[in-house]
Each structure stands twice: as C-alpha cells, then as structure tokens.
C-alpha cells in the first residue's frame, strides 16, 4: 500500500541515494585500495559539515560563494586525509587489523573533541542556501529545491569520480594498485603515494557530502556516528571495495529511508540492518564484493 504522494517519496529516495553514494563510494574505495576499514569516515563527514557551516556563514547572502564554500570544505577534508594517511596510517599497513581499528577510532575521538572545542556543543545551522533555493510544486505539493541541488551536486561529483578512475592515468594507477599491490609496485607505481591519493579522494568525497547536506540539516557532534553505522551497513550489502555495490546499497538505503516510515513504521529503523543481516548470511562478501578465498 504505497503512499499517495508517490513522486515526492521517490524524489526523497533519490536524494538520499545520491548522498549515501558519495559517502559509501569513498569508504569502499579506501577499503578496495588500501585494505583499511576507515572508522574515521563518519568523523570526516562531520568535520566537512562544520567547515561548511563556517564558510557558508562567512559569505552571508551570496549563494554562489556559499556553494563554492561547500566544494572548498570537501577539498579541505581531502587535505586532512592526506595528513592522516601520510603521517599515521602508513605505519600500520603491515600490522594486524586491530591497529587500523584503534587508530581510525582514535581519530573519531580526536575529531569529536576538536569540533566541540572549535564550534561548541550546540548544533550549528547554515540554512541560507536551503532558503535561497525555495520550493517548486510537484504533484500540486511544494517540494524543496535544495534536494534537487543535492542530487545535482552528487551526480556531478560521481561523474567526476568515474572520469578520474576510468579515464585518467591516476585512476588506472589506483585501480591497478587495488588489484595487486606487489605487481603494481613491480611495474614502477609509487604505491605509497597512490595510497595517499586514494585516501584523500575518499576523504574529499565524504567531506563534500557532509558539506552538501548542511543547509538542510544542522551540524552536530553525533552526526558522524549516525552516518558511519549506516555506511557500514550499505557497504556490507554492496560489497567492500565495489563502487557498483556502493551504489546499489545506497539505493536500497535511500528507498528504505524515504518509504520506510510511511509503509513499515514499526520496524522502519531496523529495516536496513535486517537486510544487511540477510545479505551477510547468504553472501558474506556482499552483492558485488570479491569472494574471499
């Protein structure tokens, strides 16, 4: 029994899918190439959001500069990613997996406190772009235009990502390194630098998505943890290391989030995780992941 305003629910589902994809693409990419499950991914999302709030507020009434601020926020998280990878993660690749868990989780705690120190405890809102975008009418009902901006922004970034990965030299290097690190090193690829680029790319993606959602929600200290659990569920469904899997998982999560409350209100919060559990039981490497030998 579908809701009567179906187009609005579908548009919402599409918006969530786009944002989830940006987040999980970065996570999947980092795992696929570096073999690191980045527990700090949610924290980077949060920092991207906060940086965006500050920059948007700086450019009071100028929408163009505000949108540029979001891009700058994403790039700045990429920079943080470079620093984390180069000066911390690099030293633990050879060690047990528990070290990467501890290190990335340590960053979660550090970023949580840094955010509290720099921006305070209360949620920070920067809804100027959301208000500027206004609403249009879909099936006779108002619909916020900012959702279209989120979809467009995510689509552009996704296209750029695929262009980089499949049409440029650096993209080939990244894919080669993800397939076989030793062989890649053997043909002269600087694997260390490739790892840094990849981590930075993943960080940029998630930082930009944090910045993109800011006008419609508010930046708060818990937002990283919320998104991380969902991101893990999505990549578990789609398969770690697979961008196609990240997209399929994001679509599922987007549809569930949009329709869940209307169609299955009692179990709405659990739905995504029930599906994750199901996939893990039947196909533990995810829908498009690599089967582990």
């Amino acid at each position: 029994m579908l809701p009567p305003d179906l187009p609005i629910f579908l548009l919402n589902a599409l918006t969530y899918t786009c944002v989830y994809f940006l987040i999980t693409a970065g996570l999947s990419l980092i795992f696929g190439v570096l073999g690191i499950l980045n527990c700090a991914h949610g924290a980077l999302y949060m920092v991207g959001a906060y940086v965006a709030v500050t920059l948007i507020k700086l450019f009071g009434a100028n929408p163009l500069l505000q949108f540029l601020s979001m891009i700058v926020a994403g790039l700045s998280i990429g920079l943080i990613g470079i620093l984390i990878e180069r000066f911390q993660l690099r030293f633990i690749y050879q060690r047990q997996d528990t070290y990467q868990l501890l290190l990335t989780y340590g960053w979660v705690l550090v970023f949580d406190d840094l955010v509290k120190l720099l921006w305070g405890l209360y949620p920070q809102a920067a809804s100027e772009p959301y208000l500027w975008a206004g609403s249009s009418t879909i099936v006779g009902k108002p619909y916020p235009n900012y959702n279209f901006i989120m979809m467009a922004g995510s689509a552009i970034v996704a296209v750029l990502l695929f262009a980089v990965l499949f049409r440029t030299w650096i993209g080939r290097v990244i894919r080669a390194t993800s397939m076989n690190r030793e062989l890649a090193s053997g043909i002269g690829i600087n694997v260390n630098r490739t790892y840094t680029y990849t981590f930075a790319l993943g960080a940029m993606l998630v930082g930009f998505s944090g910045a993109l959602v800011i006008p419609s929600t508010a930046a708060s200290v818990g937002m990283g943890a919320d998104i991380l659990v969902e991101a893990f569920a999505i990549v578990a469904i789609g398969g770690l290391g697979s961008l196609k899997g990240a997209f399929i998982g994001s679509t599922m999560a987007g549809v569930l989030r949009s329709f869940g409350i209307a169609v299955f209100p009692e179990i709405e919060t659990a739905l995504l995780y029930l599906i994750t559990a199901g996939v893990l039981l039947i196909r533990p490497w995810g829908l498009f992941g690599k089967r582990l030998t």
């Binding site: 809102a125 508010a218 708060s220 209307a262």
Partner: protein, 233 residues
C-alpha cells in the same frame, strides 16, 4: 494518545516518533503530510525543532496544517524570522520576554534591558527561571537565618523554601507549601514577523492561569487530569 481520545471529536491520523537529535525529519514530514492532518502537535524542542521547521517549510508543511509547538516559544527566539513561517501556535516553557508588557510590569522591563545589554539576545524561560531560583534561595536563606538568629542548616533553609513566593520578570511564581511544586501560568501565541526584531515574536498571546493548568496536589493520574480539562470545556 489516550489523552487525545478523551476529546471525542479528534481522530489521530499520524504518530511520528523520530529519535532524539536525528538530523533529518523529511520521512516523517512527507508521511505526516500524506495523512492530511488538520492540526499537528509536536513536542520537538531546541535544535531538533529548528531543523524540523527549516525542512518542513520546504514541503509547505505550515501552509497545509496548523502546527502546534509545545515549547517552540523558546526555540524560535533563536531562529531568524525568515526561517519561521507565521501562524505557528507556540508557547515557551513559562516566560516570554514580551509578557507581562513592559509598561505594566517594570521588573520585566528592567530584566530585559539588562539582559539585552549584556547578551544581545532576548531572555528566555531559562533566564527567568535562573533569576527566580537564585532570588528564591536568597530569600529562603534570609528567612531561615532570621528565624534562627545565626547561619541555618540545610533542612531549615529547605523548610523556609516551602510556600515561598516571589516577583519575577514573568510575574509572580510560588512554591506550593504542600509539595514544593512551582506554580505559574502558561502562555501561548502565534508566530509573527516583526520589524523590530530579527527573530519571530509571538502574537495574539493568551494566558492560561495556574488554577486551570497547574497540576493538582497529591499523586496524579495524568490522563484523568487532562480528561478533566475536556469536561470543563
């Protein structure tokens, strides 16, 4: 929900229970609008209410239904008037800076002048509450020490607190002697844009006196107590 059923002419078409501090209300907004409610009652507060108001406005929520915010009177003081649609029925916890009118209650005028000068924003329920608590404690200590003739013990100060009544910026508030329950009035109004302020103010304010909305003494069955209001109307 049993409370609402006490009012026979109400039909509940939607109940939404978003988790605390969730940052995205759009699934609830769209599902609620799809149920076509005439009136929506919400106890969202603080940052949650701010986020909800911004997101819901994009979906034309406040034009489609009458929104009642139980504690929005305090939250909306911290938002810009462009962000808050007019006509939302909201109430603060127990103090609104424009009531009692400043020309009728000099204490409110004094409090506002001092507060605005120091913090550059309007005082809210917490501010008035803080004022009352500190002055009540001071009054209780003075009373207990006057009775005893020297510094009083904690229990004696507690005893002096019971039944204490004080003027405050909101009017007058007192603690009931029987159970220490604080009693004051309730206020609500409709949000409105005003050229004098950057935030929305409450217009067409109405006051409900403590005798009507203060809880009865002794153990209360909340549902039965509220059903009593329905009978009174």
């Amino acid at each position: 929900m049993e409370v609402l059923k006490a009012f026979q002419d109400i039909e509940v078409v939607y109940e939404g229970w978003p988790p605390l501090y969730i940052k995205d209300y759009t699934p609830h907004i769209t599902a609620c609008l799809a149920a076509k409610p005439d009136v929506v009652w919400s106890t969202l507060w603080g940052g949650d209410l701010m986020t909800f108001t911004t997101q819901a406005a994009g979906y034309g929520f406040f034009k489609a239904t009458q929104f009642i915010s139980a504690v929005g009177g305090d939250t909306y003081l911290h938002m810009k008037k462009e962000e808050v649609p007019e006509g939302i029925l909201a109430g603060p916890h127990n103090y609104y800076f424009l009531y009692p009118p400043w020309d009728k209650w000099p204490l409110n005028k004094w409090f506002n002048e001092k507060y605005w000068a120091r913090y550059k924003e309007p005082p809210h329920s917490g501010s008035c509450g803080a004022y009352w608590v500190l002055h009540a404690y001071k009054a209780a200590v003075e009373k207990a020490c006057a009775i005893k003739g020297e510094w009083a013990e904690k229990e004696e100060i507690l005893a002096a607190l019971k039944g204490i009544g004080l003027d405050e910026p909101a009017g007058r508030r007192f603690l009931r002697a029987e159970d220490g329950q604080a009693v004051s009035y309730a206020l609500y109004g409709f949000t409105k844009s005003d050229p004098r302020y950057t935030f929305p103010i409450l217009d067409r304010m109405e006051i409900i006196g403590p005798e009507e909305c203060g809880p009865p003494t002794g153990p209360i069955d909340a549902v039965a107590w509220i059903r009593d209001w329905a009978k009174r109307k």
